[in-house]
Amino acid sequence: MRGSKLSLNHKRSFLGIAFIAPWLLGFVFMFATPLVQSIKFSFSKLTVDPSGFSLDWVGWSNFNNALFVDATFNRVLTESVRDMVLNVPMILFFSLFSATLLNQKFRGRILARAIFFLPVILASNAISAAEASGLINLVGDATAVNELGQSGSQYNVMSMVMILSDIGLPLSFVDYIVDAILRIYEIITSSGVQILIFLAALQSVPGAMYEVAKIEGATAYESFWKITFPLVSPLILTNVIYTIIDSFSGSSVTQMIFSTAFTTQNFGLSAAMSWIYTLIISLVLVIVGYVLSKRVHYN
């Protein structure tokens, strides 16, 4: 009796391994091996020859070059980290707000949802690259394009800054809000998946809870903070992590790593840069994950 049960368990585990076998193969050969290799590359000088490549051990000099010799790497890295820090709260706020909006019952809700998810479909590096090059072509200068983008929304910012600072808000906060409004398009286009995740979370909140709260006399505002927010808070963590990873995947650092490898052919330096970058992302994720998971409500 016991023997047959064991063998059934064994059978199950073999079957399980068989199901994940394609992934396991891919992981070992297409992920783990390149990962180890890229650590090796970052400590070496790599020369590509027609039949393959050769490595010369150079120790920490690639890292040294990336951090202290290269003129732009530090700046690009800090800039993209700063952008991420600014963007994540805005994207999160906007996506939670939109998801709550889309979760309510109103006429044309299906159409509104279809439109709100459209950015998931249209967010593409290829398209933005083509658009930027179209603008550069028009203006003839990349810096002019940036300025054009900033003044592109024909909205008088100063009046808003005046109003907000008259209310007595701190100036740095006013800056942040104004910045958010000026980049509303960017924020909307990068929050499609997050809206989706929040919407799915909101759907899973039992409706009876709201009814009870209503009977007890809670306002919509109260029931949002006391019911909705705690119940979607685990997904806030998920979304923060997704947003951070997503914001890094298309960042200027990635492009810089790419061009270091394939235009200047400095593979070792590129590997070192990408490891510095990976470590910083991991650090950010660990800190954010630790801070948020303490505040998350699990039921």
Partner: protein, 334 residues
């Protein structure tokens, strides 16, 4: 004799309350519509602009009174953009590539998701943590080794043993993407495995037990019972995978820079348009220094972008209903 008075007052109070509640509701509804319509407009506006530009004649470029609807309708922009992009062969090529990789990714991720959701084997939790790790490591880190790997592709030195060569050069073929998607390690595959795992975890255990008693093996249970029920996560994964694969420039420019695919072609559209437009217009063909009007080039670029995303929009229109519905029931969250 005194009792009707308070009752009357109470009823009155109730009525006022009701009217006030209704007014608040209506105001809120109006406010909500304003917000939804406003945000929708911001999202759709660039698309509308591109549609308007695509049908605009050259003569309308410098007419400041035109906002959206062009005065001179023309199909010239579309024709030229199609010529520059070599549109239909390019589209066919890209679609073939994307469909194959999407199907392979969906299949391999569904298998892996099911394996992780329903089987306990030694180290299964650690392996699943590694799935999440594949999501977290930025693609840039693996870029160079992967590139060199596919430049002289060889598994455990088998090819070296047989032919004596240093592996095969798979760059600029479809193989790198096919291999990575068949082994569930391609573009954002970790996310797809996660979605499938969450879904299969939520399926009742009894279904499998019943299937086992009826004599179905593990594979048969998966194919005949689990997969047909997994339509909603499948649609989500297929749509995401299709769209991201179609839009991907990172892997395509890394592995297949010389293969004609939509994203790489579109991102170099500006240079192409600048070079080819004078010739197409019949002015200064053959390397003369006459340049096309930059505004006209920008118009062609916008039209090209529109042509590139039209298939995605059509696809989205077809599946969005299922997609949005499936989100509500899918395993995107636990």
């Amino acid at each position: 004799m005194q009792s009707p008075q308070p009752v009357h007052r109470e009823a009155n109070h109730y009525r006022v309350q009701k009217v006030r509640g209704k007014a608040v509701d209506i105001l809120y509804a109006l406010f909500r519509y304003a917000l939804v319509i406003g945000i929708s407009f911001i999202i759709i506006y660039p698309l509308l602009m591109k549609f308007s530009i695509a049908f605009k004649d050259k003569a309308d470029i410098y007419n400041p009174t035109i906002y959206m609807i062009p005065v001179h309708f023309t199909l010239d922009n579309i024709k030229m953009a199609m010529q520059i992009l070599d549109y239909f062969p390019l589209l066919g090529n890209t679609l073939l590539f994307v469909v194959v990789t999407t199907l392979l990714t969906t299949a391999s991720c569904a298998l892996a998701g099911y394996g992780f959701a329903r089987f306990n084997f030694p180290g299964s939790n650690i392996l699943f943590a590694l799935v999440i790790l594949t999501l977290l490591v930025p693609t840039g880190t693996l870029m160079v080794p992967m590139y060199l790997h596919f430049r002289s592709f060889d598994i455990l030195g088998i090819i070296h043993l047989i032919t004596g060569k240093e592996g095969i050069n798979l760059l600029n073929t479809y193989w790198p993407s096919i291999i990575t998607s068949a082994t569930a390690i391609g573009l954002k595959a970790g996310l797809f495995i996660y979605i499938f795992r969450q879904f299969f975890k939520g399926m009742p255990k009894e279904i499998e037990e019943a299937a086992l008693i009826d004599g179905a093996g593990g594979v048969k249970t998966f194919l005949r019972i689990m997969l047909p029920n997994a339509v909603s996560p499948m649609i989500t994964v297929i749509l995401f995978c299709f769209v991201w694969q179609y839009n991907d420039t990172f892997f395509t420019s890394l592995f297949m820079s010389e293969v004609a695919l939509m994203p790489t072609k579109v991102s170099s559209l500006a240079a192409q348009a600048n070079a080819l437009l004078p010739g197409l217009l019949g002015i200064g063909a053959g390397g003369s220094s006459i340049k096309a009007d930059p505004n006209h080039v920008a118009m062609i670029i916008d039209t090209g972008i529109l042509l590139a995303i039209i298939p995605l929009i059509l696809l989205y229109m077809v599946v969005q209903r299922y997609f949005v519905e499936s989100v509500e029931r899918s395993g995107i969250i636990g």
